[in-house]
Symmetry: C2
Subunit: 752 residues, 2 copies
């Protein structure tokens, strides 16, 4: 991946201001990505807005360091993370920074440095062929091993060039125009037609770089190709990407990690379009999807980190540089003061007119808390390819500032970076991931780890179904691990509802395995007798033939107690399986088959978690850990619990995860170490299922889910002397302690 400069949104300008003016008359060399008046305002006001001033100081340090080193433009040689790779990255940042600083300070030395460097590129660039470290002819860049990096170089450097272009002699300007920018734009567009015309985030970087180059060089043809595709018919190009890469809810099919990355070229180029082609109404396109995408990106985070679904580095979060630019742009468009609290958390902004506004808003203490909320983010260009369901509760406890989040991944495959994890879930509590997603197996840019690219274990482990918290059939991954097959099928969302004390989502998947349909419902339930909201899971499998059904739970924490009989493998540690990720799992313990409801408790971040789980058929439980068959120590070693039902065609898994108590190592006390749930049970009626939680207080809570989510359909289940009646997709039944303490038949019982 690329380093994205936080202030990359230099392209965004005057047109965003309320009193937008048409560009001033130009001689063809004046800045167009940010215009002169805006530069002047930033120069005049920036010092009074501490966040802006701090960013300017940071950029000055960076550019001064580059200037002290002199112009260094090495012949391309190294792959990602290597010297020439990193130097060319430093150079585009230095070019962009030098351009901004020239405008913000008036110091000609910055402009001269950028010019000298660009002249050096003008000498080098025409001599370059495919990069020696390329991984394939198609994807090879010139300056970098991947063409993508060349696009990113162009998108940054052109901004710096725009700011200083009027300081060059005509001869130098022609040289740089032609031998750097037009050559590079040509290479990335007409000489790479399949990549340029793709509907893909790599193409967005290419169109952004080429399009902005078109504006700066006053080359309408380049601009139009960037906007509408090489054929200028709108079937490809940036506008088509806006329409097709984001869902109507601003969700990007690859997930938040790539959404963050994809967002950057969208927002920079959109700014340039707004500035130079305001009639395009780019920020209103598709019902304002670009601004929705910024909000969605923030929503798909917890405690500052993005949900690491699909190929994602788990350390990426709200402070990522792409989102710094995104927040500035969104704030300039919406003046939504809640975005300022995200900016505060980021602690920085961008050196653009929008960044100045953010800095001013923060300085004026306008920030309000960002409104994280439960939501269903539809996937697919038309919103009909499943979606990401996010359940959130937040009681505002001072010792629980992040609340709970439950993420249910009912999205489409997400292309080549998608994982095979239909109806997977993640659970967050107390500021941490409790039910986890491995994310990508990769050490980004670390040469010693497969050159910094995706590791072999990304395919053999991280993408596989067993590396997730969802159903595995016969030890094979969804779609047998073929993402192109996966692209054809999306889950069917059945239900999304967010009431005060119950939030619930449900979806059905038919095509991950031939002949197998599985339907999952996940809920967050709040109850006065529970310390924190608990997560309820109900997964129903219907198969054409008996099979092996595995349901893993990847949990984070140190095991406190194993609530079931299990044979320990603690003197010789075997491996669980042979393929589809199973070969990477060490077996720590395994139980015999039974129908008991089991439990597992662990400790994480000073809080206890008790997970109770059972199945409608006899099941075994396995405690495993990742890290087997990992010759190069590439994998993190993380625990998981796997529940297995063997030989049934239909089966239902049910479970409840309960956060409770406190372990305070500083003050040395423990509270609430015992679960407040006495037991759970599953009841199946004709057309619905119920999960019953018996609490230690004597209360009970039952969550009923109908197979058919139709809102007008009535359901009735009689179980253990109690009748449950409701209408619609789901219902919750609370029995107070007094009632269940009365003599008479119990209203719940343990499975089966």
């Amino acid at each position: 991946m690329k380093r994205i400069v936080v202030w990359l949104a230099l392209a965004l300008a005057l047109a965003f201001a309320a009193n937008a003016q048409p560009p001033a008359a130009q001689d063809g060399t004046q800045p167009v990505l940010v215009d002169g008046r805006d530069w002047q305002r930033m120069r005049a006001e920036g010092a009074h807005a501490p966040m802006f001033a701090a960013e300017q100081a940071r950029v000055e340090r960076m550019v001064r360091a580059a200037m002290a080193q002199g112009v260094v433009v090495p012949v391309p040689k190294d792959p990602g993370g290597g010297y020439t790779h990193e130097q060319h990255k430093r150079n585009y940042l230095a070019l962009q920074g030098a351009g901004a600083l020239y405008r913000l300070t008036g110091d000609r030395a910055y402009a001269d440095f950028a010019r000298d460097m660009l002249l050096e590129y003008a000498r080098l660039y025409p001599t370059l062929g495919p990069h020696p470290a390329r991984r394939g002819e198609q994807t090879s860049g010139r300056l970098f091993w991947q063409q993508l990096n060349d696009s990113v170089w162009l998108a940054h450097a052109i901004q710096g060039y725009d700011a200083i272009r009027d300081t060059l002699t005509a001869a130098d300007r022609d040289r740089v125009d032609e031998d750097v920018f037009r050559r590079m734009a040509r290479f990335l567009s007409e000489e790479s037609p399949e990549r340029f015309d793709a509907i893909h985030n790599h193409a967005t970087w290419a169109t952004a770089g080429v399009g902005m180059t078109g504006y700066v060089l006053r080359d309408r043809d380049l601009v139009d190709r960037a906007l509408l595709g090489l054929a200028k018919d709108g079937r490809a190009g940036f506008l088509a990407q806006v329409d097709r890469l984001f869902s109507p809810d601003g969700y990007y099919a690859e997930g938040p990690y790539y959404q963050r990355y994809a967002l950057a070229p969208f927002v920079i180029f959109a700014g340039a379009i707004q500035r130079n082609d305001p009639q395009r109404g780019i920020f209103k396109r598709k019902d304002g999807v670009l601004l929705k995408a910024v909000d969605t990106l923030v929503q798909t985070s917890y405690a500052g980190y993005f949900f690491p679904i699909n190929d994602a580095m788990p350390d990426k979060g709200l402070d990522t540089e792409e989102l710094v630019a995104g927040i500035a742009i969104a704030y300039a468009q919406t003046q939504d003061a809640r975005l300022l609290s995200v900016a505060q958390r980021q602690g920085r902004t961008v050196l653009t007119p929008e960044g100045l506004r953010v800095a001013e808003g923060v300085a004026e203490k306008l920030a309000k808390p960002f409104a994280f909320r439960p939501l269903m983010l539809r996937d697919g260009a038309d919103g009909d390819r499943g979606g990401l369901a996010i359940l959130r509760m937040d009681d505002g406890h001072p010792d629980d500032e992040h609340g709970q989040a439950l993420v249910m991944k009912n999205t489409s495959q997400g292309m080549g970076h998608g994982h095979f994890d239909k109806l997977n879930w993640l659970f967050y509590d107390n500021g941490r991931a409790v039910v986890t997603d491995y994310g990508a197996a990769r050490f980004l840019n670390v040469e010693a780890k497969s050159g910094g690219t995706y590791l072999p274990e990304n395919n053999s482990w991280a993408k596989q179904t067993v590396a997730h918290n969802t159903l595995v059939v016969d030890e094979r991954s969804h779609f047998d691990g073929d993402w192109k097959r996966g692209e054809a099928y999306a889950p069917e969302p059945l239900l999304f509802d967010a009431k005060a004390d119950t939030q619930i989502a449900s979806a059905r998947m038919r095509d991950a395995y031939d002949g197998v349909t599985f339907t999952r419902t996940l809920a967050l339930v709040r109850h006065p007798d529970l310390l924190f909201p608990a997560a309820v899971d109900l997964l129903r499998v219907e198969g054409a033939a008996p099979a092996r059904y595995d349901l893993p739970l990847h949990f984070n924490g140190h095991i406190m107690s194993v609530g079931f009989q299990a044979q320990r493998h603690d003197a010789v540690r075997p491996v669980l399986g042979a393929r589809a990720g199973y070969q990477h799992l060490w077996v720590d313990a395994e139980s015999a088959a039974s129908t008991e409801v089991r439990s597992l408790a662990w400790l994480l971040g000073g809080r206890f978690y008790t997970y109770r789980f059972g199945a409608s058929a006899p099941s075994r439980a396995w405690l495993v850990e990742s890290g087997a068959n990992d010759p190069d120590f590439n994998l993190r070693r993380e625990p998981a619990l796997i529940q297995r039902v063997d030989g049934a065609a239909d089966a239902t898994f049910f479970g409840v995860l309960e956060p409770h108590g406190e372990y305070n190592g500083t003050a040395e006390y423990v509270r609430g170490a015992d679960s407040r749930i006495a037991g759970i049970a599953h009841v199946r009626g004709g057309d619905a299922s119920i999960v019953v939680l018996r609490l230690t207080s004597g209360s009970a809570l039952a969550l009923a889910v109908a197979d058919d989510p139709a809102s007008d359909r009535a359901h009735r289940i009689v179980a253990n002397g109690r009748t449950y009646e409701w209408k619609g997709a789901w219902a919750r039944f609370d029995s107070p302690a007094a009632q269940s303490a009365r003599p008479g038949p119990p209203d719940t019982k343990e499975s089966p």
Copy 2:
């Protein structure tokens, strides 16, 4: 362990003020642990010092919650962590808090609540025999399973009682005096003579509780027994504890974790003594050792956490409540503004006159940075039982705020909580432990984990030598794991020196194994061609017969590259050995024997670490991980590297650990991932050893260490055409790049 209230130092009062006055005339019921005038000053001024006011508000919330619950004094039943245990702990905190709040607010409701609770204790306490959950008759308390907890109860509750005693009717006062405090004091002193007269931190809690009870009840006999032992001859009691439990440098033999715990009764009771028996000059005793102990406790931390040597919970640090009180007392005595920065880090202070001073100092912005510095902390009452060597460098880089710390554990055994880790080392960098100590195997107060006490694996793993970074002979621990034998022997410190670019410590251990002497030198070296200071290790073993020598390195981080050929056990994972901790080690990889210098690189917290290591005889290398033979999942799973020399009588191990580079996940770049050390070598001369580091810059750095540390002795080694000459215990030789680039014989070479 006990919860220690942060404001437990209520006993410290007026006498600390510069203008100390004798106590006012009293009717025998006025407060004596903090006197009335001081309470009035706190009442008047506390609101103006935010840190004090915040603490008062926190205590008010706690006491108000207790009052809302009403007086709850259950019959003792549960062990640590259980309900009755925790309730009696809450009660002593509530008593102490209610007393303080009555004085600080004048609200009689607090006094009445404390009275009612004490009357309830007066009803219960006389009925109690040994605790039903006791682990032994000797150690049984009455309210708690351990007598220690009863002592802590007394030391807190008496402070609360002191503050409200004058509000009780004479009849109630007599009842509480006799049936709670005098009975309890009697139980802890004359009825438990062996424990009360011990020189041990448990006895300090007992003497503190009993002695303060003596002051409050105006019972001189109790006071004298507390100060001088039951026989009142000074061979036991608090004063003897002051003299004998801390070394002249204020180091406590059990290590920082227990020093923190032990410190609390020392400082509270010392305050009471200073107030009531100022002629004792308690804070000047033994050259001011109690104040030194506070400074030492801060010095034995890194990035806010104590060095986890011996039985220690790794999450304990400067914000621990005991040290909050300690800092207040030390500041009141010394007015050292650097202590205020520790208080700022703690974020709170105590509700005492000293706490008010701290809060006022912080409010007036007087704080200066605490001066962490290299130092040798002698161990033993007379300073002749080895010591803890701390090397520290701090270049003040903004991205390296904590600098480096290297800890060498040359201390005495440290009694029953001591680990078998003579000449062990720890290394810290970038805010994290890089070369680690497991600490204690325990989940404090977690009932599900062996009732919250030390786990079986504390003996079988955490204390064992192989769980540390020091020499293991023939797979046996030092002293064969017998701490009483270990008590008899301490290492011999040979050298401690802290120059600008080289800090060095050395010690020799003779008696950990029969017939084996090992001498270790550890150094921190700064070099302009290295990004950060590196750690150099030189360990020389001299044995009477051929043996198996293992040198483990417990490192923290994810392996980036294994710089040697090794057979991987990644499909079936065996266990390394059968006993002395080896049974807990899974084998991940093992190499054949060779004399090559090997390397291992890992990533931690965004920084790379490369460890290069070799030996004077053929060695094997093992990559292992803790967690085998751990049926209850009690152990953390942490990696280690073990270097093994088999069949030699004498051997030298040498190694260099180099922090370098940066992995920035947010900005997605990697810098300096390659080590700047090209190779290391070991040269042995007649009476000295040299470790040579060849840097990639071409420079070289040689560290020479003489067997005899005498400062006046000259040494000369000729090796590979170069002559090293120096006088004294050690020397460093730097060869610039230009020089070593000249033609001629190399000045270093690889071992052997």
